[in-house]
């Protein structure tokens, strides 16, 4: 069977939300009759071209339909692959599987219906096929392109924090200067090619972006209408609307390649919130090699009583204001999440389970620990201001202030007895907290009070 079976088996959505492949006899017979010697390794493009020709031009309607079914079968496999690809790349972190995606895109029943039913829904596979032009792109490219534009799938992914820009968004997003840079420096095109593209983009902007604003179109950018393509063609004076469309796609592809090549793909906050990666966090915040560091530590030593007082006040204020911006029951989840992280050292994934969230990214978004720490430091610095004698130096020199902020980060991450003398530490902290960072220690104290007062 092998790869060829993709042309006669259709990937469908089962009632359990999983995909299954269904052999389509008509497609199989037809395909095997058309390509009896597949061992010969016929290029994919050629197979598709031939099927496409039959679908478009055969005088025998059953052949037309059979060829279409073969192509739709192929598309369904590609669509499934897109979902698998998304799951592999992002599912773990964002907490979705291919099965969450299938219902949006696996909707081809494999039945007749080339013509759009009046008021009826057209399966994605058929939509893809109707817009397909084998002279311009492979069927796989075309499928990926249209799946990428699928509104409901996009909405689902956006809610998870992933966005897929349409070609039109990418073109909207490109200035003439950027276009020139990308085409010359990244694609090494000739001046004439650059000029042609520049003119195309200018005409596209003048029509498409203007219409988007004038017509108040929001959300996903739809393909340009025939009227828009005609208007662009008129501006360009020479080209036909279908050529314009193809060139716009080509241009968008080029821009997209550069986008992908110049972008980091790992979420920057992925690892920072893991307790086991606290060291990493510290290495980020203590990048300073300023000789006056020692002096600044002295600053903290000098104000350590005020420091601790201010820290308590800051924590209380930051936790309270965070809680107030969250709607119930998120405010309670926030407090519990904070408690589980700082006081029980659970990982984001474990916390997700404990507080009934699906994925770790949801916990990350709820807790926003990096912001939390920053807010605490800022409140702390602001609170210390009243005690600081040499304000001009500390608060008027931004670099100085910045180093101070980093020093506080270090102090918060340090074990408590580094800052406070041991006896004092023992006296002020409950048993078992001693080995954690100062911040964790104080957060737990604050939370014990807040949670204690709400639960007991």
């Amino acid at each position: 069977m092998g790869q060829a079976s993709r042309y006669w088996t259709l990937v469908k959505l089962g009632s359990n939300g999983r995909s299954y492949t269904e052999a389509i006899a008509v497609a199989r017979q037809f395909f095997q009759a058309q390509f009896p010697d597949l061992e010969d390794d016929i290029p994919e493009g050629k197979i598709q071209q031939q099927l496409w020709q039959i679908r478009q031009h055969s005088s025998h309607p059953p052949d037309q339909f059979a060829a279409e079914l073969c192509l739709r079968c192929f598309i369904s496999h590609q669509v499934e692959q897109v979902c698998i690809q998304l799951e592999t790349q992002f599912g773990d972190y964002y907490g979705f599987t291919r099965h969450d995606l299938f219902p949006y895109v696996l909707d081809d029943p494999g039945k007749a219906g080339s013509q759009k039913q009046p008021g009826g829904y057209q399966p994605l596979g058929l939509q893809i096929l109707q817009k397909f032009d084998p002279d311009r792109a492979s069927l796989t490219t075309w499928t990926v392109r249209l799946v990428r534009q699928h509104p409901e799938l996009n909405q689902f992914l956006l809610e998870q924090g992933l966005c897929m820009l349409s070609d039109w968004a990418i073109l909207n997003d490109t200035t003439q200067k950027k276009l020139r840079r990308v085409l010359t420096q990244f694609h090494h095109l000739t001046e004439i090619e650059v000029q042609q593209s520049s003119l195309l983009l200018e005409s596209y902007h003048a029509i498409y972006r203007r219409d988007r604003i004038l017509q108040g179109q929001k959300g996903q950018c739809l393909s340009p209408t025939t009227a828009q393509l005609q208007a662009i063609a008129n501006q360009m004076q020479t080209l036909s609307p279908s050529t314009i469309l193809a060139r716009l796609h080509t241009l968008a592809d080029r821009l997209r390649q550069q986008r992908i090549a110049t972008r980091g793909s790992v979420p920057s906050n992925y690892s920072l919130d893991q307790p086991e990666n606290a060291a990493l966090l510290e290495s980020f915040s203590t990048e300073s090699d300023d000789p006056s560091d020692a002096q600044q530590l002295e600053f903290l030593q000098a104000y350590r009583q005020q420091f601790l007082t201010c820290l308590d006040q800051s924590l209380e204020q930051v936790i309270r204001s965070r809680q107030q911006t969250l709607k119930s029951p998120k405010d309670q989840s926030f407090l519990r999440g904070l408690h589980l992280f700082y006081c029980q050292s659970l990982s984001m994934t474990e916390i997700a389970i404990e507080i009934g969230l699906k994925a770790q990214y949801e916990v990350t978004r709820l807790l926003k620990l990096k912001e939390f720490r920053a807010d605490v430091r800022h409140k702390l610095l602001d609170g210390l201001r009243q005690y600081v004698r040499d304000k001009a130096k500390s608060y008027l020199d931004l670099d100085h202030l910045n180093h101070l902020d980093q020093q506080i980060e270090v102090a918060l991450s340090e074990q408590i007895d580094a800052l406070i003398q041991k006896d004092e530490a023992k006296a002020t902290t409950p048993k078992g907290y001693g080995s954690r960072s100062l911040l964790a220690q104080q957060v737990c104290r604050s939370l014990d009070q807040v949670l204690g007062s709400t639960t007991s």
Binding site: L86, R148, L157, K218, T325
Partner: protein
Amino acid sequence: MMYEAGTALMERFLDPEILPESVISLGPATMEQAMARSRSISHPDRQWQTYLNTLALFGVAQWFAQRAGDISLNQGQASILLPSYASVIPAVCNLVAKGFKLCLIATTSQPDEVVEIPRAAIDLPDFIPHFYVVVAIYEEQAQVMLHSFLRYDQLASRIATIPPDEDWTYPIPLNWFDPNIDRFLLYLRCADPGAIALPEPVIDLRTALATLQTELLHLLPQLQVNDRPWWQTLTWEQGSVVLSTPPLLNWILTPQSPSPLPTADSPHPHLSDLLQLLTRPLINVGNWLQDQLDDLAQQLSWVLLPPLSSQMRLKESGDTMPRDEFEAIVTQLQRQGVTLLPDARAAFSNLVIGTIPVRLCVITATFQEAGQPPEWSLLVVVGPAPGNHLPYGTRLRISDTTGILVQRSLTPVQGEEYLFSEIFGTLDETFLVTITVPDGASLSLPPFSW
């Protein structure tokens, strides 16, 4: 084998971008508001840029509300909300948070390695911020993100290495910007705006305007009628003066209504009046109430008349105005329904316009209505020199910085000897009086101020 190729291709094309947790989602109503604000701009690129800038402003305002409720953002002077700047400076200048001025640079969802900052925000003190903030806009997704920021002092120390582009932008390397937005918050929350010294205006705008006056009179009308970017018409020197002079910006961006009277004046009488108002030395008529003429009025041989309430007889010598003549004027004014305030003061000046001798009388007073700021009045009476007649077709025009307020012509129908008009303004307003005689010769007096 073919299958692998397909997968590679899929990875290339299927490229979800990861939105950071700090991203701000804009609602449909906000998107619509931003679109509505940019619809009136006809130039397609500027329209889109204004739209993105507005999204940046709304997004940052929302970010402050969500992330830093302790900081209030003052958008009252935001350039993007002022029509005169919105489409001219492609950034959001003059936002204020805790005394710090911010300038938002709206960029595409994935900022380029170079950030285009308008020259105005780097070279013109009116627009220079404490912080430049790069705001990445995912327009299709209605998401906005604070990407990075740059302190003015850090930019200023290095800007000499970057020549500005001809389109009035500086290409600033993205790696100058600090992606640590928490640090930006730290500065706003804990530092004092004095920590970053901003430059004071160094050029004398009045002198610069006076030098460029003739060129601007010629060039600014072009900006009004064509859609080309300003940098294609003006030099930066000219542009910087215009950008620093709001009345000129307003003139350019206000469609001109056709003149109510057919005139042989310059094709853009208000622009020429405006330039004079902005550049010429002023005559202070407020001094008249203290029984004084300022130096300029003295140089121009103005003669101050005694208070109207005084019963003092006026001398009938050559240089002063005979009481009969002044009373005739007052009588005629009263017939026209103009009443003079008791403490009004008048002065006159004898002028020759072309070949026509003219006597110009100006009467001024100050008053205040309940609940209103104090105002002053300027009553201008153009009459013949003694023993002459004012020719029909003599015209009087009075302008302020917003437009031409009065245009009158002496016609036989009225059978009057005098042309007059009275206008009122707040104490900071100035007025330019221009008299044109039938042969086309005209004279603008130094602007009157209080």
